[in-house]
């Protein structure tokens, strides 16, 4: 894109109510943050978040399996360090009706009010991203309005080289998005589906969601074990013209991600230890000793998960209680009178907090 064209796009978006900084409503569009894991294998049996933060693999009823990796392959000269690489490891060419594989991000309603959706002043949705694959393929990308069951989509092409995809979805004067912390707007990239999601016509303007129309025109990522899909630089902004990806400092991306997921105990000191808590107890029982304040208020009260076998003296493994959006109590169940402590001492000792959508 020439500088003149870039400037014209930005001015056009500012006139449409977008532009400026913080214009990307997606989080971790450059796929720099992968708190859970930088690589995860055997995926496909269950939907969830496995590698890059905020990016969900919505899978259902498929025998297809894949590996997801935070990869270093990136488009040249665009300032990216990472992409998400998906590699098919088990093909699935015998399609059951409701098979799904959707690469998606869900957005809180309160973070997408700028689109003024459902009003007479509704703004267009400018989407852009970079993709490549092992061979030519066509996939469907869509926006889903979860509050009103509305949907708009378009096909895009993948080649063996990095390609920038730019799509502007029209404004929608029907269906306002709830101004709250629940999922309102979702970006979907269909990578595989069963016949339930094809057979109709992909809606290029906003319409009521229909299964038969949802993924029409898209190929299957699971058609061969040689299939790969890379993506980075994903940006969704208010306006009629997609602009260059807005790179942001890592701490800003990380803080945004922490609202949905973070974990403690991973970082170790020079001796390989982390997160020691302890105390003195006169008898067996729970000892609620330590309050942990989250780095940022989370979207919802998170699920907490303890991993690993911690180093313990006269106590259980670490536990969590009184979890709120702001923090929680860390404690141990003491096994007998005396001093007690616990701490992490191996790579898999951590506590995660998951408030994802």
């Amino acid at each position: 894109m020439s500088k003149a064209a870039e400037l014209a796009n930005l001015i056009g978006n500012i006139n449409a109510g977008g532009g400026g900084v913080n214009r990307n409503v997606l989080v971790n569009g450059a796929t720099n943050v992968s708190q859970r894991s930088v690589s995860s294998t055997g995926l496909g049996a269950s939907a969830g978040y496995f590698t890059a933060d905020r990016w969900k693999f919505q899978v259902a009823n498929t025998a297809g399996r894949f590996t997801a990796t935070q990869d270093s392959s990136v488009p040249t000269g665009k300032g990216f360090a990472n992409s998400i690489k998906l590699a098919c490891t088990t093909a699935d060419t015998s399609l059951a009706n409701t098979e799904q594989f959707i690469f998606q991000q869900k957005l809180e309603g309160q973070n997408v009010q700028g689109f003024a959706k459902g009003t007479s002043d509704a703004k267009p949705f400018a989407l852009s991203f970079y993709v490549k694959g092992n061979a030519n393929a066509t996939y469907v990308v869509a926006l889903y309005d979860e509050d009103n069951g509305r949907y708009v989509g378009k096909t895009f092409s993948v080649t063996t080289d990095w390609t920038r995809v730019e799509i502007t979805f029209p404004a929608d004067t029907t269906g306002t998005l709830d101004d709250d912390n629940a999922s309102s707007l979702e970006l979907w990239i269909w990578l595989h589906c069963g016949p339930t999601y094809k057979g109709g016509t992909l809606p290029l303007t906003w319409a009521s969601y229909s299964n038969a129309n949802a993924a029409e025109g898209g190929d299957s990522f699971f058609d061969s074990t040689s299939r790969t899909f890379f993506i980075t630089g994903v940006q969704l902004e208010v306006g009629q013209n997609p602009t260059e990806f807005e790179h942001e400092p890592i701490e800003r991306t990380l803080t945004k991600c922490h609202r949905y997921f973070h974990r403690i105990g991973d970082a170790k000191d020079g001796n390989g230890y982390s997160l020691l808590i302890g105390g003195y107890q006169g008898d067996a029982g729970d000892d609620y000793t330590s309050y942990y304040s989250f780095p940022v208020e989370m979207r919802a009260i998170p699920t907490s998960t303890v991993s690993g076998t911690w180093n313990t003296i006269r106590t259980s493994n670490i536990k969590t209680a009184y979890v709120t959006v702001q923090g929680c109590t860390l404690y141990g169940s003491i096994t007998g009178a005396g001093s007690w402590y616990l701490h992490g001492d191996s790579a898999d000792d951590h506590v995660s907090f998951d408030g994802e959508l």
Partner: protein
């Protein structure tokens, strides 16, 4: 979400302080917050009659 089991956890006299559940083969502590996706799924499966939350020990 494959929820294998769910059981209330008691804290300081509150017998329904949170839920301990095994989801996708991982043991998780789940708050009773409808905005939490794991709790929302538990509520959905309870309503559908495919899951029962056991009482706290």
């Amino acid at each position: 979400m494959d929820i294998k089991s769910a059981k209330y956890v008691s804290f300081l006299g509150n017998d329904k302080a949170q839920i301990e559940a095994v989801i996708d083969d991982v043991t998780m502590n789940i708050p009773l917050d409808p905005a939490n996706r794991h709790y929302a799924e538990i509520l959905k499966q309870v309503k559908e009659g495919t899951l029962t939350i056991k009482d706290a020990d």
